[in-house]
Structure formats: structure tokens, C-alpha cells
Symmetry: C2
């Protein structure tokens, strides 16, 4: 599509560009194979940067990857829906709805658990690979026998306007658009622990296979697309044009290829649904994200991370109207930034390893480091990776700046700032909770219990029994809106109150919380040092949850107000209505 800006003649550059991308893919994959072996417990860019470069680059890599994962979902799902729309153009107006529904569907599959989703995702992957190769081989045979046609009923060439000259800038833009094919590499490196033993070797094999398949498909599709004069379009994908030309119409081969591609693209989002929550958990354990993200839900998945990812990517899909063209410029910059940081971390690691004495072994958080004989070559190789991926990152930021990369260039530092803010909070908290130089407070000896009662009934008496269990010093408090009712209550209390003192607070204007707060303020003001006060609030638990709306949440409101008062605890004693 980018090359189309310079007129269809520029399409001949597509093949050399795709070959350059394959070279880049080879460099990145090869250096990631090194990372996988060095980090058998998972060596994502964040961990490599954290262990070898420090907090700031680590936070940068973490933020870049999180953004990358979110955009992977948005782009994959939108592309998958674009495939569906290519064969069913009537669905085009509903692409945003469809995309959001599919995102939620993938979320639900992932919330169900990892094991099941493994099976669900394996079969379509094989199906897709086979279908694309069938189409490529059929196309290659047609080409070699001179029977390959050109596309018929071309969709309108959009956004072309006046043809721009084919500048280096345009070539670079086209190049960066193609590099988005590389973003799956990081996911494998991050997910090493999910592989079967020997994990590192299996992960490395997978990575190499993926790179090879990717390279063949990329070059093959690009080559055939140029031969058939395919035209980029929002309404029909290049794969759809290719498949229906090879298939001589929309036959079975066409439909199977499109179906396979659509399914695999939607499934591709799954990479992120595995990667994002896992990375968020690692960041949370390190104190860069809220700690809740570090624990799993009952189905052994990081449910919170999965939900956060879904909300964010659905937001991007809606904001960009599920347009792949609009989302792509935002997409790969984060991933390439994290590639660069990961490579830099690995280069630094080999450098350190080279300067250890043979036999030394340094324990690091992520993996052990020992002397490495081939350190010079390895350092050089990863340095080459830094140069290659760093250059792509910069080219990306510059050439795609106006098309949306600026959004990522704002979001990334902002996210890093949030990470640092969270990190500082946890560090300060740990310091202020520390037991070093801590003088234990003298244990509190007096415990005063106040029970709030709205009437005298079985629920109140349950609360009263609990209150008496806590302390011998119990006071019952009732807020009265009506003198006569209060007198009735007092008489009833004499029968049922087990001798506990009853205080009635008059509230002629029907205020509820305020008289209680005044009373507690009065009690706390006159309490002795180290006296603890517990406020017991009997709480109905109706059979249906919506009936809860019919009961005042006094305990919750009191707890909120009392949170800031040391030495006061609010307890609600549930009473299950039979």
C-alpha cells in the first residue's frame, strides 16, 4: 500500500524489500535463539534489559512490550476481520462490531485456561500453513507454466491521489510496514517456560521454524502478488486477490485459504493473550505494576491481565475503526524498541561473561552467568542486532511519525512514568513498614466494643453475641428518628439485651451516619492510650443479591470514614436471612 503511493510501477521494489526484511528476520531470530538458551526461564526483552541494563531500560522495554501486545491484538483481529470482509463485502460496515466481538471471544477462551486454548489454537495453525502453501505452490506452478493470470474486478485503488516520487523515505516507510511480520519472535522468547522439556531447545526449534515459514510465505506472497498486479485496498486484502486469481474465482480453495487466514489472524491475538498477562505479572512482581496483576484467578490464568488487555485493545479497535492501515503505523515501534533493548542487554551480558574468570559463576535474577569462550563473536553478533533493530526503530519513528507513531511516542514515556511512580510507592511503603529500628508498641489491653442496632431482632442479637465474644466492655447504640419508637426499643432491649448498656442517639432530622460519627468521636476523644475500639455492625444478607440494594450499607460507609482513624476497627457481622 505504501508503494502504491508512488504508482503501481513501484511495486517491483516489493520483492527486494521483502528480501531485506527476511535478512532482518534472520538476524533477529538468530540472536533470540541465543537469548532463549541463556534464559531458560523465559527471556523476554524486559527480563534481559532488567538483568543487564538496569531499571530505566527495563521499564522502557516493559512499557514498549505492553503497548506492542495491545496493538498486536488490535491489528490481528482487525486484519482477520478484513479477510472475512474480503469474501463477504456485505459485512464491511460491521467491521468494528465484529472485531470487538472477536476480541471478547478470544478473551473468553483465554479466561477458560491455558491447556484448553493450546489445543484450540494448534489445529487452525496447521490448517493455515497448509492452505497458504497450497495456494503458493498452485500459483508457482501456474507461473512456471505461464498460466498465471492477473487480478480481475480490482477494488478501487484508494488514497492514491497524485503519484509521489519514489523517494528513499517512501522505500523506508514501505520497509517498516513489512517489518511488522517480525513481532512474533518476542512472544516465543518470553514464553519459554510454557514449552515442554528440554524447554530452551524446543523453544529455539519453534523460533527457527517460525522464522523459516514466515520468510517463505512473505517472499512467496509478495512475488506472486506482483505477478498478478494485485492492488492494496481496505476492502479486499492482497491474500484474497491472490487466492481468487490462483483459484480462478471464489471456489473451494479460495474460501479455505481465506478462512484459514482469517482464523489464524484472530488466533494470532492469542499470542498477546498469553504474553501480556505473563509480562504484566513479571512487572507486577518487580513492583512496576499493581500487585494484583501478579496473582492468578481460579482457572490458573492471570484473569486481571487478560481483562485489561481486552479492554485496551478493544479501545484501540474502536478508536481506529478497525482499520489495519491506520493501526499498522502504531504497531511495530514498541516491538522494535524492545528488540533493540533486548539485543543491547544480551551484548552487555556477553561482554560481562567475557570478563569473568573461567570457572566463576554469577547468580543473577533471571539466569546464571559464567565465562563464555566465544564471547567476542557473540557480543559482536548482538551488537549487529542492536544496530539493525535500532535503525528500524528510528526509521519507524521518523517515517511513520505523522501517521500515528507519535501516539506511541507519547504513550510510551507516559506508561514508563506510571511504572516508576508505582515502583516508588512500593519502595517507600516497604521502607515505612520495615521492622529495622522498630520499637514494638505496648500491646493494647483495653478493648471497647460498640454495636450499632437499628432494632431488636434476631440479626441484632446475633451481632450482640459476637460483640460479647470480643470484649466485656460492650455498648449498644441506636439512632432514633422518633421518640415513641425509641421507647418501644428500649423496653424490648431490657428483655433481650443481656444487660448490655444501650445508648440512644436522637436524630429528629433523620440523619443516620452523623450522630454515630459524633458519638464515636466523643468516645475516641476520651479513650485511654492503647485502647482499641471495635464498631460492630449487624448486616443482613438477603437471599437474592439485588435485595441488598434495599438495605443501607452503614458498615461500608462507616469503614470508609474510619479508615483514617488509628485504633478503630469496623466489623460487619453478617446475618443470613433464612
Amino acid at each position: 500500500m505504501v508503494l502504491a503511493l508512488a504508482g503501481t510501477a513501484a511495486f517491483t521494489y516489493a520483492i527486494p524489500l521483502s528480501l531485506v526484511i527476511v535478512v532482518l528476520l534472520a538476524i533477529v531470530s538468530a540472536s533470540y535463539v541465543q537469548t532463549i538458551h541463556a534464559y531458560p526461564n523465559g527471556g523476554g526483552a524486559y527480563i534481559v534489559a532488567r538483568d543487564n541494563l538496569g531499571d530505566a531500560p527495563a521499564a522502557a522495554a516493559g512499557a514498549a512490550l505492553l503497548v506492542g501486545y495491545v496493538l498486536t491484538v488490535a491489528v490481528s483481529i482487525s486484519s482477520g476481520v478484513a479477510q472475512i470482509n474480503s469474501s463477504l463485502p456485505a459485512l464491511y460496515p460491521y467491521r468494528v462490531h465484529l472485531s470487538v466481538i472477536l476480541t471478547v471471544l478470544v478473551m473468553l477462551i483465554n479466561l477458560r485456561g491455558v491447556r484448553e486454548s493450546g489445543i484450540i489454537f494448534a489445529i487452525p495453525t496447521y490448517f493455515f500453513v497448509i492452505m497458504i502453501f497450497v495456494a503458493l505452490i498452485a500459483g508457482a506452478v501456474q507461473y512456471l507454466t505461464g498460466k498465471l493470470l492477473t487480478v480481475e474486478d480490482l477494488p478501487p485503488l484508494e488514497r492514491v491521489g497524485v503519484a509521489q516520487p519514489l523517494t528513499l523515505f517512501l522505500l523506508l516507510r514501505a520497509f517498516t510496514s513489512g517489518t511488522t511480520a517480525l513481532t512474533g519472535v518476542e512472544a516465543i522468547s518470553n514464553g519459554v517456560p510454557a514449552f515442554r522439556e528440554p524447554r530452551s531447545r524446543n523453544a529455539a526449534t519453534t523460533l527457527i521454524w517460525m522464522a523459516v515459514l514466515l520468510a517463505v510465505m512473505l517472499v512467496g506472497i509478495t512475488f506472486l502478488a506482483v505477478q498478478i498486479d494485485a492492488v492494496p485496498s481496505e476492502e479486499e486484502t492482497v491474500i484474497s486477490q491472490l487466492a481468487r486469481t490462483v483459484d480462478r474465482g471464489r471456489g473451494v480453495l479460495y474460501l479455505m485459504t481465506i478462512a484459514g487466514t482469517a482464523i489464524i489472524l484472530v488466533m494470532a491475538a492469542n499470542t498477546s493473550f498469553a504474553g501480556f498477562p505473563r509480562l504484566a505479572a513479571i512487572l507486577a512482581i518487580d513492583g512496576f505494576l499493581p500487585r494484583q496483576l501478579s496473582t492468578r484467578g481460579s482457572r490458573l490464568v492471570y484473569s486481571r491481565g487478560i481483562v485489561v488487555l481486552t479492554v485496551l485493545s478493544a479501545g484501540f479497535i474502536i478508536a481506529f475503526q478497525a482499520s489495519v492501515t491506520a493501526l499498522i503505523p502504531l504497531y511495530a515501534i514498541g516491538v522494535f524498541l524492545s528488540f533493540t533493548l533486548s539485543q543491547a542487554g544480551m551484548a552487555h551480558r556477553w561482554w560481562k561473561a567475557g570478563h569473568l574468570s573461567p570457572g566463576d559463576r554469577v547468580e543473577e535474577r533471571g539466569s546464571a552467568l559464567s565465562y563464555e569462550p566465544g564471547w567476542r563473536a557473540r557480543t559482536a553478533f548482538n551488537a549487529l542486532g542492536v544496530l539493525a533493530t535500532g535503525a528500524v526503530t528510528i526509521v519507524f519513528a521518523v517515517t511513520k511519525f505523522r501517521e500515528g507513531a507519535w501516539i506511541v511516542l507519547i504513550v510510551l514515556p507516559a506508561l514508563m512514568g506510571v511504572c516508576f511512580r508505582i515502583h516508588r510507592h512500593y519502595r517507600k511503603l516497604a521502607a515505612s513498614l520495615s521492622l529495622e529500628e522498630y520499637e514494638p508498641e505496648p500491646s493494647s489491653t483495653r478493648h471497647r466494643v460498640i454495636i450499632l442496632i437499628s432494632g431488636v431482632h434476631q440479626g441484632t442479637l446475633r451481632g450482640l453475641r459476637y460483640a460479647k465474644l470480643l470484649s466485656n466492655d460492650v455498648t449498644a447504640v441506636h439512632v432514633s428518628f422518633d421518640r415513641r419508637e425509641a421507647e418501644k426499643l428500649q423496653r424490648k432491649w431490657e428483655t433481650w439485651g443481656e444487660g448490655v448498656r444501650l445508648v440512644i442517639l436522637d436524630s429528629p432530622y433523620r440523619l443516620m451516619l452523623e450522630p454515630v460519627l459524633d458519638y464515636i468521636g466523643y468516645i475516641t476523644a476520651q479513650r485511654q492510650p492503647n485502647e482499641t475500639i471495635t464498631i460492630v455492625v449487624p448486616q443482613f444478607v438477603p437471599r437474592h443479591w439485588f435485595d441488598q440494594l434495599l438495605h443501607s450499607q452503614t458498615a461500608m460507609l462507616l469503614r470508609l470514614v474510619m479508615l483514617s482513624k488509628p485504633g478503630v476497627v469496623v466489623t460487619d457481622v453478617p446475618y443470613q436471612v433464612p
Copy 2:
């Protein structure tokens, strides 16, 4: 506007129709004066129906009035904004925004408290009455001296289409549109307690004054509007047309009249902001609405009721795009239904009073009843009221059915159903809590305390001190994600744990809540009868509330899960981070 459907010639019927409305106003006002004297503590339709007719008519009256109040706000605010737009047509596209902003503004004034809003609302009322009378007198003088012109630059006559024949149906529709002027009567009757002593007399005087002013203004405006050939329009109100004709353009008199009318209409919403929350509180005390509506907020106003009213009326304004023409058909039906029920209640009351022996006195919830010598005349008078207002209600429902009255005819029974559902819940709850035939459970003697700890620090130790205050049987429980961390924690606990037993629950998959629930399930399964279990959760209270997002709400989640388990109480012990 309704008469315009039959062509402008039908406007001559406007004056006779307005006179019929004045007669109706006289009947309703006179019978409400009786109600005010019989119910010195406030005699709204709900109370009168409840005390004299029973629960079902009472709920009907209550629901009708609540709906009426909501629509009063929607109509008043929309009309006020229509006045503003008449003088500043550029604002017409923003009428919905303006209306919602004004609704929120009136809400804020009312949330600040009754006393202040009394003063704020009195001055504009006098200003409005004076301005309208100035305009009416000026118009009358011009008419008598033959100098009254007709309107210039008429706004386009909307929605006319083919002129319909002037049927009785059309006349009745026009009549019902006019009767909406009566809806203020109920507010005074409901609000008697807000008047200064002697309350009933002051309220009755106010009611009569209001009725007289209303009658004069209604007839005066209608008469002059016909003389100047005013035309109904969504874009310029009749008052605006009248004022600029009398003023010979948009001069000072015009602007002051429009300003006065606009302000008074927006302020008119205040009637509902006083009436709705007060009625909702009465209904809540009687168990027809959630009890929370029966208590006041810290500024001595029923804040919850005020907020509910604002949300509902803003909803209507948005749904009907602030169109007075569209809202009016929904508006008066609820009010007239409650008029009818109120009159029926009063008629029944006099009938009962007539059948008491002289000297007898029956205490009722709302007021005392004693023999009334003139009971025959009073009964007959209220029966006439029932006929008149009942007829208007039916005419309203029939003639306005297709224009929106059907919405109210659906909403009203639905709301009544909700009221009955709530009522039943409270009655069943009271029965199941009753202490009749209640055998006190044997007091629990054993109290087991479990404290959850995420680490050993000052917050944990605060929680531990509290736990030891509750019982001698304390167990500390820690969920461990990592064996090495757990061993460190165990060593630290030996130093600081004050000899309390520590249980470590391994959770290699980083589950948090589930191991705790399993453990509690295990403990509760083997507990002795009448053993109570308290789970203490130390809870950080960070200095900034948003930092709370960085801490897991274990206590809250546990409490939700444990609500349904009898004999288990969850307590969070706040630790204020210094």
C-alpha cells in the same frame, strides 16, 4: 398548539377553554384547602390515599406523584430553556446541553440545603409575577386604546399539514394540554410542614393566592395571545411573541419578561426538588421504597432522593431532546391520577367522619378523625372533585395516548409493582427476624481467629496485636508463591510473631484467594458447634486514595465470599501508612 391543528381560526376556542380550566382549578384548589386543614402534617395524595383507601391506591398515588415530579422537572427546565432560546435563537441547537446543565445546577442548590434555597427562590418568583402583570396590563391598555398590534416576523407554523376538523377530541386534547397548569397544587398540600405556624392556614392562603394568580395569568395571556394572532412554535414561545408585540420589539420590558419567565420556569423545578425527596422518604418509611431514601444527608436534605430525581429527569430531557411539546403529553396524567385518588380518599374520609358518634375520635397514622357536622356537603364536594379530575385523567389518557401518555401508562404499573415487591421484602424480613417464638441460641464460647499475612512488617504486627485482643486462639496464615521467600518469612516470624502459630499455604501457581478459601473451608468443617471464626486481614491505608488501587482488596473479596457462611466474620484492620 393543539388548536393550531384545526387551523388558526380555531384559536377563538382558546379563551373559553382557558375559562373551563380556571373552573377546574377552582374545584381542585378548594378541595385541597380542605385537605390541608385535615392534614396539618402534610396531606399529599399518597398520605390521603394511604389513610383512607388502603395500600394499593396509596402505591398508585405514590407512583403517579413520583413520575409527576420527575416530569415536572423535565418540562419546567425544558420550557425555561425554550424561553431563553426565544430571545437567543443561536442557542437552540444546544437546548439539551443547557437543560441538563440547569437541572444539575438546581440539584446543587438543593443539595446545599433548604434554608438557603428558600431565599434564592423567593426573589425571582416576585420578579416573575410583577413582570407578567406589567406585560398583561400594558397589553390590556393597548387593547382598550386600540393600539395593540399583531405579531410580526412570525415563526413558521410547525407540524400543521392538512388542517384537521375541529372535533370534540381535538378540543379535549387542547383542554388537557392546558390543565398542566394545575400541577403545582399538590406540591403545596404535600409540603405543609415546611410552612411557618399556623402551618395549615399559611399553606391554604398560599394555595388560594397561587390559584388566583394562575387563573388571572392563564386567562390574560390566552386572551392577549389570541388578539395578537400569536402562533405556537417550538422555536419561539407564545409569551415571547406576546412580550415583543406589547413592547414593540425586543426592548427592556421584553428582555425582563423573558428573563423572569425563564428563571421562574427553571426555579419551578425546585418544587419537585423539595417534593420528590420528601415523598420518597415517606414511601421509604412505609416500606415502599428502599430505606436509604428515608434518611437525610449531612446538610439535612434527602441527598439520595435529590440525586435520583436529577438522574431520572435528565434522562427524560435527553430522551425527548428537551422538547416541551413532546414532554407535555407524558406530564399531567400522573398528577391528575393522584388528584383523583386524593379526592376519593377525602370523600371517603368525610363519609367515615359522618358515621362516627359525636365526641368520638379515631387516631389515624396521618391525622385524627372526629365527627364532622357538615360531612354531607364535604363528601359531595370531594365527590364532585373525583368526577372532575377523574374525567380529566381519562380524557388525558385517551386523547394523549399516541403522543406519549402510553409511556406513563406502562411506567406507572411497573413502578407500582416495584413498590409492592419492596414492601413484601421488608414484611417478610421483619417476620423472619421476629423474636416471637425465638429460642436464643446458646452463646458461642469458642472464638478462633485467623490472621492473613502477606509479609512480616509493621502493618502485620498491628493486625496481630488486634487479633490477640480478640481471642487466645490465633493462627497466622501466609500464602506463599515461592519456597525461599516462605523460609525467610518463617525465620522473621520466629522473631516477631509473639509465639503465634504460623501456617504456610503453598501456591506455586500464584493463586491468592483460593488457598485461603480452602483452608477456611477445612477449618470450618472441623469446628465445634457454636465456634465462631474471625478472619483478620491487615489492610494498608495509603495517604492518597488512588494508591489504594495498588493494593489488593483481599478483605473485600473474602468478605463477599464469606457473607453466606454463618459464623464466619471478616475484619480488616486498617494500618495507616505514615
